[in-house]
Amino acid sequence: MKLSQLVFRSMRKNIKQYYLYFFALIFSVTLFFSFITLQFNDAVHQATIKSGTATAGFEVASYMLYFIVLFFVLYANHLFMKRRSKEIGLYQLIGMRKGLIVRLIAYENILLFAGAVAVGIGIGYLTSRLFAMILLQVIAFDGIVVGMSFSLEALGSTVFVFAILLFIVLLQQAFFIRKVSLLSLFTAAKQGDERVKRMSWWKMLVGFLGIVFIAYGYYASTKLFEIDENNNLFLDMFIILATTIGGTFLVFRFSVSFLMNLIRLKKGGHLNTVDVVAITPIMHRMKSNAKSLTLITILTAVSLAITTLSYIAYYSVEDAVKTKVPADYILMDEKGESFLQLLDENNIAYEKMDFPFTEAMVQMERLLKHRESEGYTFFKNEISLSVISQTAYNQLRPEVQLREKESIVTGYSGYVSALVPLEANGTIDVSIGEYSDELKVVDIHETTVLGSGPFINGQPMLVVTDDLYELLERANSNKEWPFWTKQTSVNLLDKDDLKQAEALYTQSGAHEFQIAEDSEDTFTKPSQEMERNDYLRAMGVTIFTTGFLGLAFLLATGSILYFKQMSEADEETEAYNTLRKIGFSEQELMRGIYMKQLFNFGVPLLIGLLHSYFAVKSGWFLFGTELVTPLIVTMGLYILMYFVFGVLSISYYKKVIRESF
């Protein structure tokens, strides 16, 4: 028989084993190809070209994708080789040289890769269209019908990447075949399995330590952004990462066996079905599974945290936009008159609010919640803040009534307010020109009144009594360019007019501002809608790429867990056969299997969820303003996907148990 015949024959006979590996390959090619296609797609390119971060984001994401695909394919190959160790041993036993076996396996892999790349590119071509539509949807980009053409660049780069991957896989296999002895090939399937010995006291201690490590990491993460004297953010982050990752490994390696062993010892040999089918095999395999479970858990946690954070950012776009541009249109002094005229001419209904404002130098150290710490130099110096009168402020917050020498700090929100909390029970020093006094701060609000820039000091700002405002305005009257004194916030009454109003806004020239008094250069003061589109474009690409990577991670880790369960089920066929002979019914065995799957998928998921929860909780406010909904949505999706993999795995076990007898 020629080698080629042998290759084809062995592939035909092993179709069931190949199917899993082949599926993993196709899946990787599909993900990769559709992502690269997106990158080279015209519509996507046009939609994202305005955002520099988007292009960079795509680049970073494609490198991440290399990593996921590499990790996934190498792992699948590893499982595949383990399953075939007997076959390889047999070839050697009948006198085939190792070099020939390596060539045999190499031919097979080249065929498999070629097939997978062809099929994967076919599927990827179809899915890339779907992904492109999703992307344009999240960045709220309409107007372009997605015309997907087959991208030769994407084809080239996919073929190139998978050719390299094939090369690495071949090296891995050649190494595997050359290194191992005949005997170890026959027992490779059993390698790494450990008989659980009586637990020694130090193992119990280490198991306990794992839990302590994780608990400490969680505790430290809640303190991460509390600024104090001996704060070293990077060291703290490193410690948190080290304790949680190390703790996770120890938990899988020792704590799980430790807890299960306690249960088992208590039974004194009298096990029930669940103990027999779930607990003892899990304990048995914990040594070989600890590393991969740790890796899967950490990957789950990381991708979940990243997805959640970017979703938080995307979800909070509205809040972020409103902080920067608090009304549909922000007009300065008389510069907006032409725009308002245009609105009137076109019968567009709107409401407007005038906010005269001025400036004062303020020292607000005594408001700091953590006054003793050494940071916050910003708040310890005199800073220039915008000031408005109570009357103006009452347009937004009618309930506010200030007495003499009282004031309110407002517009203090976002991550700055979370990092540097202020308390409304102190006094501030206010001065401008001749005026200098101490005011009592009665409240701290988040309400944004003035948009940021141009020539407006951003947040926070000060609200004072009308009398004091007049005083400050007079003291501040030596005008210098540019010195704006009034902001007009315009809100459309009917949002259907928005499109027309946007056009009028640019037409009126109310958006153009000179950069300096003697300069011809201008910059644009965006309307709320313009700002929103900018944000959506940047955040949309971020949420899309992180979501895509999150999905890739999720599918890769879920598939690996599923593959692992498939090979475990195969290895345990004999035990199921024995149990059924003894009189265990299918249903009784399945009850144990449910528990086993609950553990196999549930525990990495649960620990991953906890990790990402604490990671997100420690710093979410840096990314946006809403935690609960994005967190629940992403976690819900993850749980759902893991559930699907769990169900797949259960149905495989069902098949194995049915056929074991």
Binding site: R195, G269, H270, D275, L579, I582, G583, F584, S585, E588
Partner: protein, 253 residues
Amino acid sequence: MAILRARKIKKVYGKRNLAQEVLKGIDLEVDKGEFVGIMGPSGSGKTTLLNVLCSIDQVTEGMVEINGSKLQGMKEKELANFRRDQLGFIFQDYNLLDTLTVKENILLPFSIRKMPRAVVEARFREIISILNIEDIVHKYPNEISGGQKQRTSAARALVAEPSLIFADEPTGALDSKSAVALLTNLAQINEQKQATIMMVTHDAVAASFCSRVLFLKDGALYTELYRGDRTRNEFFQQILATQSVLGGDGHEA
């Protein structure tokens, strides 16, 4: 009193032209307390017979009745319950679960039936003392010898005191000394506890421990020998003689 009754059982593998009749209508009765051996050359249908008698495999025709219950027509779940409550199994390759200790393996049958822990513990103590495996109960299967594994397997089959114990080549993988030790134990339990045992073997020495030996040839019952009052050695000689008449693998013993 007959504990097992089989009527005209036939087993056919394959379909139509490829069909092969492995059992060609066997009638059989086993009384309570009997130790029955099944012998015959390779391919005579010994193991198939045992499998259809113990409900692991289905007959093509005929019926099997154990302790008054007919196996044919029982649903999968009823069969599982039936095996649990009535039958014990000992196999050539032990079929122990690697992940369980010897004690846990032996107590497996109790995982699926409700019985007071004290009763279970008492039965367990008794059986391990008869089989002489007290010292290894906390070890794992990979830490003990083949003979010990097989005695563990036997203990598991016997501990629930089933109506009928099936053994398929229980000594097949053992050296002669371990084999004799195990068979002595089985014979002892058969006598003391009136346990009914059916054992497939191709080993004349093993068969000589039985009270009756059936010989199969080409899927039909060829003859049967009763030990009666003879010594084990005399019975052994007679078995050898019958085997040589029968041909096949007599020399293997």
